[in-house]
Symmetry: C2
Subunit: 420 residues, 2 copies
């Protein structure tokens, strides 16, 4: 269902690699029907005779065993997937939004109807991520996930870091190259990353993490100044999707972070994705690759189709147990503890730093280092950059509020959390 960038490539592979796939599965994979919105569009000639605009041509036909959904978006995909599962069909989808919002309901439906719901392609393109959590790492108690899982923002941040350009010109370039959509909001504001984090955290913590549980902050507030200071201080700036688990609660958030420049994630550039996982047995493992694009995504979709086909042949349903235990509570953002980078535009006068330090100290925030530079000699303003020791988000928010009331502070230019 859907013959766009991903669906078209999946059809292409099913046709071109039919022989090797048949050998893997033990019988041929036959493409029966292709549901599209518009019959008049130019398509792969090999599937011309299979096109239909009528979803029931797929969903209501008993001879169809596996439904592959590559439409994207919440509606009508959610209805199609529901009907397919209820109809006893195995489902393969690359739809992160539907899985992030409705994954638990769909997995429950799949279990009730003895079929599988496969969604490896929903996160990280062709990088194996869902499968490792479902199979390879399942003996582990996962304590943390640190992920660069949005290629668009990582491309923009890489350009800002390397070329010293500002956000809007980096975004324009990404749009020119087709890495960012005309309306880039979902990527730029971290929404896409939050969908993916919801999926990974739900799996890793055997819990139900919904997108709305995730604190989400995009990259549009970052300026080239922040990158200059980051470099000066030995950090890179990345949009990280972070999930942590303690005995009591889980922590899920997407926002720009300072990370040490010699860390692996700092070196993940351009449209690449990487996911670092920490487990009690396995220690630190990292998965890296292209997180989007027709070819890598088709790699994951086809792997899921083969897995589903093997289940069809063996007559078994899903091999993955979906835990039903009540999820842990999500820790409110105000209780998170991190270090902070803080950039302020201040009056260039004696005693200003003392005032600022007092506000921070009064809020139990201790300073690890300070850089002060002349910003504008005519206006007599200076720029102060402060790195703090770990502090609670609530205290930092309180301090930021107080700082804006100091007459010597012209502007809080930015503050960015630090992950060590």
């Amino acid at each position: 269902m859907g013959l766009g960038v991903v669906g078209g490539q999946v059809a292409r592979v099913l046709i071109d690699k039919a022989e090797v796939l048949a050998e893997q599965v033990g019988c041929p994979l036959v493409l029966r029907k292709v549901v599209v919105q518009d019959l008049s569009k130019k398509r792969l000639p090999e599937v011309a005779s299979l096109l239909t605009t009528d979803a029931s041509e797929v969903l209501d036909k008993p001879e169809i065993d596996i439904v592959v959904e590559a439409i994207g978006g919440e509606v009508p995909a959610i209805d199609y997937l529901t009907r397919a599962l209820v109809g006893g069909k195995h489902v393969v989808t690359s739809n992160k939004e539907v899985i992030a919002k409705h994954g638990v309901e769909l997995l429950t439906l799949a279990q009730q109807h003895g079929v599988g719901l496969h969604y490896e392609a929903a996160v990280g393109g062709g990088i194996p991520l869902i499968s490792p959590f479902q199979h390879d790492l399942l003996a582990n108690k996962i304590s943390g996930i640190y992920a660069i899982i949005n290629g668009t923002t990582n491309f923009i941040l890489t350009r800002m870091a390397r070329d010293g350009v500002d956000f809007s010109s980096a975004l324009n370039r990404a749009q020119e190259l087709g890495y960012a959509e005309p309306n880039p909001r979902d990527d730029v504001e971290g929404i896409d990353a939050a969908y993916k984090l919801a999926i990974l955290a739900s799996l890793a913590f055997r819990s139900q993490v919904r997108p709305e549980d995730i604190y989400c902050e995009g990259i549009s507030r970052l300026s080239s100044r922040d990158f200059q200071y980051a470099q000066e201080l030995g950090f890179a700036i990345k949009l990280l999707a972070i999930a942590k688990q303690s005995d009591e609660s889980i922590e899920v958030r997407v926002h720009p972070v300072f990370i040490p420049e010699d860390s692996f994630l700092a070196k993940v550039d351009g449209v690449y994705n990487a996911v670092q996982v920490e487990g009690d047995l396995v220690g630190k493992v990292l998965f890296f690759g292209e997180g989007a694009g027709a070819l890598p995504t088709s790699s994951a979709v086809i792997a899921d189709i083969v897995a589903a086909a093997k289940d069809v042949i063996l007559g078994v349903g899903s091999r993955v147990k979906w835990g039903t235990q009540p999820g842990k509570s999500v820790r409110p953002m105000s209780e998170i503890k991190t270090r902070y980078y803080l950039r302020l535009n201040v009056a260039d006068r004696p005693g200003v730093l003392a005032q600022i330090a007092k506000v921070l100290g009064d809020n139990q925030i201790s300073i690890s280092s300070v850089i002060q530079k002349l910003a504008d000699s005519v206006a007599q303003t200076a720029e102060i950059v402060i790195m703090t020791h770990p502090a609670q988000e609530a205290a930092m928010q309180q301090a930021l509020g107080e700082l804006t009331h100091l007459t010597t502070v012209n502007e809080i230019s930015n503050f960015i959390r630090v992950e060590a």
Copy 2:
């Protein structure tokens, strides 16, 4: 079978995580018997009542569904695994040597008897590697594998690079820390890496690559001088296991290489492992983590046990088809083409470089850069380091032979292949 470092940890996890594992599998995993060599050794108290020295207590008992082999080495493990499979038991093993040498026979046996042979723990400790090739990446034609899969040698190389020490002192340190065995031959000479590469290449290329097909060269010839020049030239030195596939043949080799210092693999330090895979759909993907140790290895063994247990419950055998197509031929090392780093001790006289350049030129080897340094002013010797453009191994070996006959060349101190 086997209650050493890995076996003991696996037993520990089966006991400590019994509840969560039962939930994943759908029924409890019961540890029935533990085969050990020596009953008098101190063991986990929880398994004291399960110990036996008699392998048939496991292999001949119909109530045992899954046999976990953590003995290591070729004999008697191969006999035990054969008997287990023929007896219709699912097998989980962490034994790289047995799988590298007898994997195809054992997988064929498993298929004949409708059971699974699981060996995720044989390569890369807890890093998912076998499973990605068997499932996630199976739609891909794999063109290359570049792997750091021996933690001992990577620890030694990391120390040599960072601390400027020579091989023997780095090896001593690794032995003190328990990262290298008292007899380090298998690790240091690349034999362990070759076993693992045989397993990965066989899977990735759906072929039968045997350890003896693999060109294998260890790290003991490396000196601190080589690391100095590598750094000067912008490279790191790593022991890489390399497998490439063309339409005609495959290429499999383990040896030290120069790799660009800004590549991901160059940054894999200490006892970490990393495997970079290139596929036609997925592009470049990389897997990183701790490649050995009791905890990470137990993570993989337990995942395999859970997979086997699900198959037992569902009443299905192996889900993995073992291709029976004839393997591609392995390209002889003499036909390999790479760039080379060459370090020579020569007489410090005019015209020496011209002589050397002529020998290389006569063998169709072209030079990309040269560094010449005074080695010993009293003995009037100099050190010449040459980086070549890509050349064929046979031509390089011929040239090396001719260089040793030049009276002005005192010694070919080292030559190391370069992977870009």
